[in-house]
């Protein structure tokens, strides 16, 4: 860019705010910087004549900020150093693939086993989350209980899924707010 030529024509001409200009130079793609800067200055000088320097300064700043967008912003200048070394990773992928092709049986067993394991894992997760979601749509889910019996036969302990409706009156205990007999006949109780 030709500064000396610019300075000659400047004499008692106003120039755009220096900070805004430097900011623009800093972010702008160098391939676009010169002519966009020219446009900015041309518009700026027109505004100085029409609206005065202050207004023109402000609007110049706004223009510069509005130009701060993808497409205008230049490429980030890190050419000598890459954050991710793709060559190395590509090499890993190639080597891994060659090994799979070379040991076909082993690879097959390995992949099958792994996928089976992952599948089972996911299925278990699905099953468990489903089980855990039981009755979770209730408002005070944590305060709902189901009454069931623990029957001790000496060595063996049996848990029943439900109880006789005869236990129904127990939900009239002090801490129990209300209760019902569910379809299976076992009293459900809520604190």
């Amino acid at each position: 860019m030709n500064r000396s030529k610019a300075d000659i024509g400047m004499k008692n001409r106003s120039t755009p705010p220096r900070i805004a200009m430097r900011f623009f130079r800093w972010y702008c793609d160098p391939r676009l910087a010169d002519h966009i800067e020219g446009d900015l200055i041309e518009v700026y000088l027109g505004r100085v004549k029409k609206d005065g320097q202050r207004t023109a300064d402000w609007r110049f700043l706004i223009d510069v900020l509005m130009l701060f967008r993808p497409g205008i912003i230049g490429p980030i200048a890190v050419t000598h150093f890459e954050l991710i070394n793709t060559n190395m990773i590509r090499n890993y992928v190639v080597v891994a693939f060659r090994n799979l092709v070379r040991h076909k049986l082993f690879a097959t067993i390995n992949i099958m086993g792994l996928s089976l394991g992952v599948t089972v894992c996911v299925l278990i997760t699905l099953f468990v989350t489903h089980e855990m979601s039981y009755d979770s749509f209730h408002e005070n889910e944590a305060r709902i209980f189901k009454m069931r019996a623990e029957i001790n036969y000496g060595r063996q302990i049996i848990y029943t899924p439900s109880m006789s409706p005869a236990f129904g009156p127990y939900w009239q205990m002090p801490l129990v707010r209300s209760g019902i007999l569910s379809a299976s006949g076992s009293p459900d109780v809520s604190w």
Partner: protein, 115 residues
């Protein structure tokens, strides 16, 4: 059918470049759109559109002269390419087809007082 990607604002810009013929550069395009459409065009939006259009190959740029009113910064003139002409012709034909497909009764409602 080949697809020409052309955004709404990009279309305005490229048509304005066509109107200005050999005098299309940043400021003249901006002024032309502003005066014809009575809307303000930000420098950012316009230059972003110009960059996109050039990337798509619809316009090409020629370095122009550096003048005093630009404090020595060069101008860059934009010209519409053959591909760009195809693109605007395509978008016009699409619109024409859509206009033709509108039933007449719809347009009659849109302009009250006629019939």
């Amino acid at each position: 059918m080949k697809k020409y990607q052309l955004g709404e604002f990009e279309e305005l810009v490229i048509l304005t470049i066509a109107i200005l013929h050999n005098r299309a550069y940043g400021v003249s395009i901006k002024n032309e759109i502003e005066s014809r459409l009575a809307r303000s065009v930000s420098m950012g939006a316009m230059h972003a559109a110009l960059v996109r259009l050039e990337e798509k190959g619809y316009i090409k740029s020629v370095d122009g002269e550096a003048t005093e009113e630009r404090l020595g910064r060069p101008r860059k003139y934009f010209q519409i390419t053959a591909l760009g002409k195809k693109a605007i012709a395509y978008s016009k034909s699409i619109r024409d087809e859509l206009w033709k497909a509108i039933p007449r009764i719809v347009l009659e409602v849109m302009t009250p007082g006629k019939g």
